[in-house]
Symmetry: C2
Subunit: 450 residues, 2 copies
């Protein structure tokens, strides 16, 4: 009496597994042998280049993405208006003088959204702090009029470098306002980098409301070590900072959207990345990779003639790097339209070898996704953990949309993240395409089963 249904269940499961395995293989073969994502990325990075929200390059990128989505076979493409706060870098320089030494120019990048010095020299003495905890213990009179140097190293012990980035992140995000509260003039941080070179990494800071907005810049690890050495020897370090960075009003720009219509219903499955990038390098891993992979998902559904039950929608979000207006605006539009959303997947961890998918969803959905693990194992995917869903799709959680972050091999990402070194040459063709393949496989499973 009990055996029959169990047996049939097992039979159906095995049958599904075989069919799904075959489909997984078709998807993988299609993308690894005919995928266009790598050539798409070459175009985006080499013909357009970096593309901060508000820049002329970003506008070029929106037109490029619109065309690519059409070429990939989208049934419908459109631009979604997004209002962004515009930040521009302008000319910037940092000079230091150690003890009786000579003035030297050091490599630096202002943090994104940082105010500058309006082209005037900001001068001051440098004070070394190793951690925020140490900083909190220092009285305001020690900080007043000083330029504070946070030399908090990126912790190499973390196996997943994203955790080291999380650990060190506050030094970039909050130190400017903390220092301003005690009367400091400016902040210099050691870059959030897993590397030991001298490349500075930018990235956004956030000023607290009602607190003076002092400039904040990042320097490379080598210079950071050198400055620390001098300061520990009690040498006087004088600094001159000059920067034309700052906010430049608002601008209406766009996220770019393309979709293939569902054959069964109009509920939406989102797959996306962010189209903007920092204003240095080429935004290749961050997040050109996520954009071309998402387009590849749509293209391979069309090329393989997969009949999608639900609408599969590629969203190329605006303004992830310095405002998140793209993701928030998308949520507002969903609220207005009332379109049901089944699932959202983001690729914004670089175009590296796939490792897994996070499960930012309720236990039942998470269990369903994990039950597909054996299908993914042959593609090197073993990890279905974590709750984080990607910056642009996180707002959708307000509507209880299940979200997932495509997670990749993290070892090389923070060597080049937010730097001039984030270029096309750093992306490996097979790693990028394999990512697109497993993303397509996941979207396929959600479309068939949810």
């Amino acid at each position: 009496m009990y055996l029959l249904p169990l047996f049939l269940g097992g039979f159906f499961y095995a049958q599904n597994f075989k069919e799904d395995s075959t489909q997984f293989r078709k998807i993988s073969d299609e993308i690894l042998t005919k995928g266009k994502g790598y050539e798409d990325l070459r175009e985006l990075t080499k013909n357009i280049g970096n593309r901060l929200s508000g820049s002329a390059n970003y506008e070029k990128a929106t037109q490029w993405a619109l065309q690519k989505l059409k070429d990939a076979g989208a049934d419908k493409v459109w631009l979604q208006p997004v209002m962004v706060n515009v930040w521009t870098r302008g000319k910037e320089s940092l000079q230091v003088k150690i003890g009786n030494g000579k003035w030297q120019n050091i490599k630096m990048l202002s943090l994104g959204n940082s105010e500058g010095t309006q082209g005037k020299d900001l001068k001051g003495h440098l004070i070394l702090v190793k951690s925020i905890e140490d900083f909190q213990k220092l009285p305001a009179e020690v900080i007043k009029d000083k330029i504070v140097f946070f030399n908090y190293p990126f912790k190499q012990e973390f196996i997943v470098t994203g955790q080291a980035y999380g650990d060190a992140g506050k030094y970039r995000r909050i130190t400017a306002s903390e220092v301003a509260k005690k009367g400091g003039k400016a902040v210099i941080i050691r870059s959030l980098t897993s590397n030991f070179d001298d490349v500075p990494h930018t990235g956004s800071l956030k000023y607290e409301d009602g607190i003076a907005k002092i400039p904040a810049v990042a320097i490379g690890a080598e210079t950071a070590e050198e400055l620390e050495k001098a300061l520990l020897k009690r040498q006087l370090v004088e600094v001159v900072l000059n920067s034309n960075c700052g906010m430049n009003g608002q601008k209406l720009t766009h996220s770019v959207i393309g979709e293939i219509t569902g054959n069964k219903d109009n509920s939406v499955i989102v797959v996306g990345g962010h189209l903007d990038s920092w204003d240095v390098g080429e935004g290749a891993h961050d997040d050109g990779a996520g954009i071309v992979q998402s387009i590849e998902v749509l293209r391979s559904f069309k090329n393989l003639n997969i009949k999608n039950n639900h609408t599969i929608r590629v969203v190329c979000f605006a303004n992830e790097e310095n405002g998140l207006s793209g993701g928030r605006t998308y949520l507002e539009n969903v609220k207005k339209s009332g379109e049901p959303h089944l699932f959202a997947l983001e690729s914004d961890s670089g175009g590296f070898t796939p490792r897994g998918f996070s499960v930012g969803m309720n236990a039942e959905k998470a269990q369903s996704m994990k039950s597909w693990e054996k299908l993914f194992n042959p593609y090197g995917i073993y990890e279905f953990t974590g709750n984080y869903g990607g910056a642009d799709i996180t707002p959708l959680r307000e509507l209880n949309v299940p979200v997932s972050n495509f997670s990749t091999d993290s070892q090389r990402y923070f060597d080049i993240h937010h730097t001039p070194e984030d270029t096309f040459e750093k992306v490996n063709r097979r790693e990028l395409l394999l990512g697109a393949a497993v993303m397509t496989q996941l979207i396929y499973m959600v479309d068939q089963n949810w």
Copy 2:
């Protein structure tokens, strides 16, 4: 009655798991924060460079490795004599003329162990073959006096690129003798490469006894495509090959060995890679990585003051690339000495992110190793599959020694394998050191449990 032993078993297991986890973390912290492997690799690749067996550079490398093993804390180091057949490249060139076009020089590398043309021009017409199966169908009169071009592409569909390498490998290894049997003059193969650039990849061929030894060379994928296009259009392609490559007698050289003595017994655990490399590039991934990782295993046992039960022996094998004399000689020495060997681990899949360990051993031992999987998961290791044990340690299977190949993320390896591009710059510090960490963890578990 049944519950107590089960419960205790569970308790002991949990207790061991906790202790082993702690030790795994210590090993990982040690290597990721204080590991010297990356700087060691810089020395080996930049101060010495490529090092084919028989070359002066290889001799330098043996002295370097001996010193490094001493510095790492080996109780005992020595050179193990190995007789190798010496192959040298010499000047080489390949010119082609398509139809009525101009003669052009194309990028090429003779295959390792290939005979050359003694500096004379070897001229002939090119004939295209897509596969060995197609070749077998062609009568000898079609092949006679021709230069045969095998344009068999590396299959992108394989997820693990080593499988694509295995699939295409025979085109490098056996085609020279096959073509000679039908009276052909020379062989050109499309390089065994996952890339679409024009970099030729070398690697060894094997001549059959009693068959004429005709020259064989590799060309890059781009040129291969171009030649195929011309030949499919029935254009005449004339070729002039000139090469001074060839075998140059025998030479006595050495594998380099260092060990820390066992505290409990003298049974031996081997960990190693090969010290030789091809004569182009810097032999960074292949196999400088395996050498510095193996030294790192020994160094971290010493630095962490782990009391090893058994002798842990690092072997830097000679002559993996074009003869395997190092591995075979090691086996002969073990046979003579009668030293019991518990286990051998080889790292020769490049210094990329760890993925797993193969289990070239009996079912009981394989089961034991797999039972450690959960300890390895936090370090990104999920795969305990495959039977292959690494070329240098495979001979030990004759004595039933359990062998394991450290397997890595394979996506980038065959872009640069056996080419001038296999340089230090292609190795990522964290990926390399994480590999050393998991190798040390595995050696620790074997030492404690077997």
